[in-house]
């Protein structure tokens, strides 16, 4: 077989695979987005991933706004400083995504922090660790879904700041635990998580439930 024929075969084969892949994803995912009870769906494509990030940043910002509004008993000066910084960063992240998404942005989410005792240092820092670790795993796990290099770079710019926060919160809980075994494996890799795994966690702190029907997740 001539090289040209082989290449034509290979090209046709790859194209067929691509079409099949698209068809499969259509039949599985091409549903009308319904969000009963005032929920929000992240949508699809790069705006979908940006909305996913926007949802998580909304949750983080709301959490730290509450932490600073009602500080836990015995909060130290340096802890106030750190937690205020983190609040400011998360608010910037939230507002950046809202501005960048414009008319494609999902609705403002209403949090539900009824399970968090904001008067307890241990409870607040444990929740902060959960949110930061979840954020890092979410960005790392969704990076490959981003198609635009510019958006991927922006996600990278944010995830390292979230990882800095995560390490700081872990160090505040217990000095020296900045790469905890529940987040970093023996290869030295941070864990990552799928959209479905992350939203299932995030929704436990949200009154406005977030879905991702294009990524096989409904609350």
């Amino acid at each position: 077989m001539a090289r040209r024929s082989f290449l034509r075969y290979a090209g046709a084969s790859a194209a067929a695979v691509a079409v099949m892949g698209a068809a499969a994803s259509c039949s599985k995912n091409d549903r009308v987005i319904v969000t009963p009870g005032g929920g929000a769906d992240i949508g699809s494509g790069d705006p979908g991933i940006l909305n996913y990030a926007y949802a998580l940043e909304q949750l983080e910002a709301a959490f730290y706004l509450q932490v600073i509004a009602t500080p836990y008993s015995g909060i130290s000066t340096i802890e106030t400083s750190y937690l205020t910084d983190i609040r400011d960063h998360e608010v910037v992240h939230r507002d950046f995504f809202k501005a960048a998404l414009g008319s494609k942005a999902i609705t403002a989410l209403t949090p539900d922090f009824s399970k968090i005792d904001f008067s307890s240092r241990d409870k607040v820092l444990a929740a902060a660790k959960a949110f930061e670790d979840l954020g890092v795993q979410a960005y790392d796990g969704a990076g490959y879904l981003i198609k635009d290099a510019g958006y991927l770079t922006i996600a990278g710019k944010i995830v390292s700041v979230e990882a800095r926060h995560a390490a700081l919160i872990s160090n505040l809980i217990s000095p020296g635990t900045f790469v905890p075994a529940d987040q970093v494996n023996s290869d030295g890799l941070n864990k990552s998580a799928s959209i479905a795994e992350v939203l299932a966690q995030a929704n436990t702190y949200l009154k406005t439930k977030v879905s991702a029907v294009n990524y096989n997740y409904k609350p």
Partner: protein, 283 residues
């Protein structure tokens, strides 16, 4: 050249290689039947096409990115290993803390070596290092790097922050590659955790009263570490415009908050220029 050995090697790090090449594995079968008829000379080209379709980038690109990462991890691992074995440098109170960083950098070296081999590449070995930054003369900007703990941590700080920037800069070269991009982002996050931890240690030890776990730049200076010799390692961190949004004017936040909220990437060329001929010895 043995296509099936290569695919089985990749399978060790990417169990879904067959699905990636073709959801029904038909491509592999087809290659088998056609392979016997295709001229041997055509195979490398066919293989390249196969991987490009599967991953969206040439394997040479992926191996180049991984070897670049490995070069940096060799530097970091070499640095912390030398620190750990230098008597009297790291106080016993901090040996476990620094030990976690050392452990991770060595794990990154091992992981990347495996990934490169599995991708059909050859892992680069460690370069010759001069941790004073003196290009093998031992008289660079950090002559006390292994005799002063404060200098050691300052250099560690610069390496970690630069490493975060280097990984970030390579992400677009791995776009869409679920396995390799996700792994690179996962190492990137761990480097950022290290950077945060080294910064906090420098603060807590009183080496730098103002340093935060994140990079807080001014409008004109990216570098917030007080290590003047490293100004170029932080060049660009003062950026306040993200995706066309000027955070300071549009969101009404300070330059400090805007810059600390986003870390900036560095290109391979910039990273190479920063490290080669100083920390990485060049002839």
């Amino acid at each position: 050249m043995n296509l099936f050995n290569i695919i089985s090697e990749i399978e060790k790090v990417d169990p879904e290689i067959h699905e990636r090449l073709n959801p029904r594995r038909a491509a592999i079968k087809n290659i088998t039947s056609f392979g016997s008829k295709v001229a041997v000379a055509a195979m490398p080209f066919a293989l390249g096409t196969l991987f490009k379709k599967a991953y969206g980038q040439a394997t040479s690109t992926v191996v180049d990115v991984l070897n670049f990462a490995l070069t940096l991890e060799h530097l970091e691992a070499g640095f912390y290993n030398k620190g750990a074995t230098t008597s009297g440098l790291i106080p016993s109170a901090d040996s476990a803390y620094i030990g976690f960083v050392t452990r991770d950098e060595n794990a990154h070296v091992k992981f990347l070596q495996g990934a490169i081999t599995a991708s059909g590449g050859t892992p680069v070995g460690p370069a010759t290092f001069d941790f004073t930054g003196g290009n093998n003369k031992g008289n660079g900007p950090f002559p006390t790097v292994f005799s002063s703990y404060a200098t050691f941590l300052a250099v560690a700080q610069v390496f970690e922050d630069t490493g975060v920037r280097a990984y970030k800069g390579q992400a677009p070269n791995l776009i869409g590659n679920q396995d390799i991009l996700t792994a690179a982002l996962s190492i990137h996050a761990v480097e950022a955790r290290h950077a945060s931890a080294i910064r906090k240690l420098r603060h807590d030890l009183g080496h730098d009263a103002n340093i935060k776990p994140y990079i807080v730049s001014t409008a004109t200076l990216g570098n917030d570490t007080g290590v003047v010799a490293a100004n170029n390692n932080y060049k660009g961190e003062e950026n306040v415009t993200q995706g066309g949004v000027n955070l300071v004017s549009a969101l009404k936040v300070s330059v400090g908050v805007a810059t600390a909220s986003f870390d900036e990437p560095l290109s391979k060329e910039d990273v190479t220029a920063l490290l080669v001929g100083s920390f990485i010895v060049s002839n």
